[in-house]
């Protein structure tokens, strides 16, 4: 009886955790949020594993690359 109750509690926690992940509910145990796409078959190339962040868009901070012109700094943005 005790065993099945504790099993139920653990199961509830797992469901709750995955639910929070799926629905972007932010809490301390789920950050950073991971959206799980259950049905997707992964046929994605692995070449990205060796790609620089530059190849993934970090060759610029703005589409027009104005960071090199107006701000005379890559970021130069008060935050």
């Amino acid at each position: 009886m005790i065993s099945s109750f504790s099993h139920y509690i653990r199961l509830w926690r797992i469901i709750n955790k995955n639910w929070a992940r799926t629905y972007n509910m932010q809490n301390i145990t789920t950050l950073p949020i991971i959206n799980i796409e259950k049905s997707k078959v992964l046929t994605i190339s692995k070449s990205g594993l060796f790609a620089s962040l530059i190849d993934k868009g970090l060759d610029r901070l703005t589409n027009a690359k104005i960071e090199h012109i107006l701000c005379t700094s890559s970021l130069a943005a008060f935050n």
Partner: protein, 394 residues
């Protein structure tokens, strides 16, 4: 439910009890250990099977023993704190860890800071920096009204008390939605408290000061149309820079100060380096004959914000859903992460970069008497477009 896990390195075996709703990776993260330094295993009798670290502990059968094995022969006692000392203060707002190393292993001192001790720390650094790097009697200082740039005021005030010839002219820009009115109010309040000269510039004053041909609102509207709504941060920084440089002319000085902090500059450096580009000079950057001084360059934002927690809190709450580029979001996140992985890792990189590029920083050249100083990496076509756009307004 708690579960036993063995963390094994070449030199030791650590038994930990952990909540089974965590993944193995999350267990390592709570102990400041990078997950790419460990492989997970589930062991039953003599049989051992490798398991990925994103496995939830709960799903590993209870009969199996869980082991996290270090994949390098690193003695973690040398790397992670084995002893902790506390540098305590009353009513702390933040804590900053400092790691120390030696034959007895790694130890850490947790420095607690309250607003008073944070201000004292920053004040001392600002004073030292300005004494070393500033030669003009009058210096223009741009403050935004956030916790960090306001911290400048106290240190600079102390300098004026030491040297009666030294004068700091503070200014804040109000330009909704980038620079809101309440931020300027906070800056005014602070400067008033310290008896510092402070000017607030709204649209009309900016247009007059910069002798603009058209309104600032139109300038921003067209800028947003041309370069995108998600580039407002860049517009804001450009605006505060040109106002500061114009004030330098008005007050016959060649020096201005802005509150770039450690992570601001680290982000900047990371972006330049990953792109194979020479970084821009810091903590003193020249725009022609005018020098931008960055006295907060090695101070973490978290320390600066701790100086005025109430101002900082208001500042965070005023932030709207940011329309920033994803690149800017990533690069700031990376800068803060580097500092978090290991205390002062970011600062150490900054100092190394400063050493490599000393006197070889990326050059900034003024274009057509306009107040723009593009870097050598500016696209020439885009530069012409920006120049003709600016000529319409200045």
């Amino acid at each position: 439910m708690l579960r036993d896990i063995t963390i094994k390195t070449a030199s030791e075996e650590i038994a930990v009890k952990t909540d089974d709703s965590l993944t193995l990776e999350e267990v390592l993260r709570t102990k400041r250990i990078p997950s790419n330094l460990f492989q997970g295993y589930a062991k039953m009798g003599e049989e051992v099977r490798p398991i990925p670290l994103n496995t939830l502990i709960f799903v590993i059968p209870f009969e199996e023993k869980i082991m996290l094995h270090c994949i390098r022969n690193i003695d973690l006692k040398d790397v992670l704190p084995q002893k902790t000392f506390y540098n305590k203060v009353e009513n702390p707002v933040i804590t900053i860890p400092e790691f120390n190393f030696g034959d007895d292993g790694c130890s850490q001192t947790i420095h607690e800071l309250n607003p008073d001790s944070a201000k004292e720390l920053v004040k001392g650094k600002v004073i030292d920096f300005v004494k070393k790097n500033s030669s003009f009697n009058t210096v223009i200082v741009g403050i935004s009204g956030g916790g960090d740039s306001n911290t400048l005021a106290q240190g600079l005030k102390a300098l004026t008390l030491e040297n009666s010839n030294k004068r700091f002219i503070f200014f804040t820009i109000i330009f909704e939605p980038i620079w809101p009115t309440f931020a300027a109010d906070r800056a005014s309040e602070l400067c008033l408290t310290h008896g510092l000269t402070h000017h607030v510039y709204r649209n009309e004053e900016i247009e007059k000061l910069l002798e603009m041909k058209e309104s600032l609102s139109n300038f921003y509207k067209e800028y947003s149309e041309k370069f995108g709504n998600n580039t407002s941060h860049f517009f804001g920084t450009y605006l505060i820079s040109i106002v500061a440089r114009k004030l330098c002319q008005e007050y016959h000085t060649n020096e201005y100060i802005l509150g770039f902090n450690r992570e601001d500059l680290l982000s900047d450096l990371l972006f330049s380096l990953m792109n194979g580009q020479k970084p821009l000079a810091f903590p003193v950057r020249k725009f022609g004959s005018i020098k931008l001084l960055m006295p907060l360059w090695d101070i973490s934002k978290v320390i600066l914000d701790a100086c005025y927690p109430k101002y900082s809190f208001s500042n965070y709450q005023e932030r709207k859903e940011d329309q920033s580029t994803y690149q800017r979001n990533i690069i700031y996140y990376l800068a803060h992460s580097i500092e978090d992985i290991y205390p002062n890792l970011g600062l150490s990189l900054m100092k190394g970069i400063e050493k490599i590029f000393s006197n070889q920083w990326s050059e900034l050249r003024q274009e057509d008497n306009l107040d723009i100083f593009p870097s050598e990496y500016a696209d020439s076509m885009k530069l012409e477009e920006v120049k003709s756009f600016l000529k319409k307004y200045f």
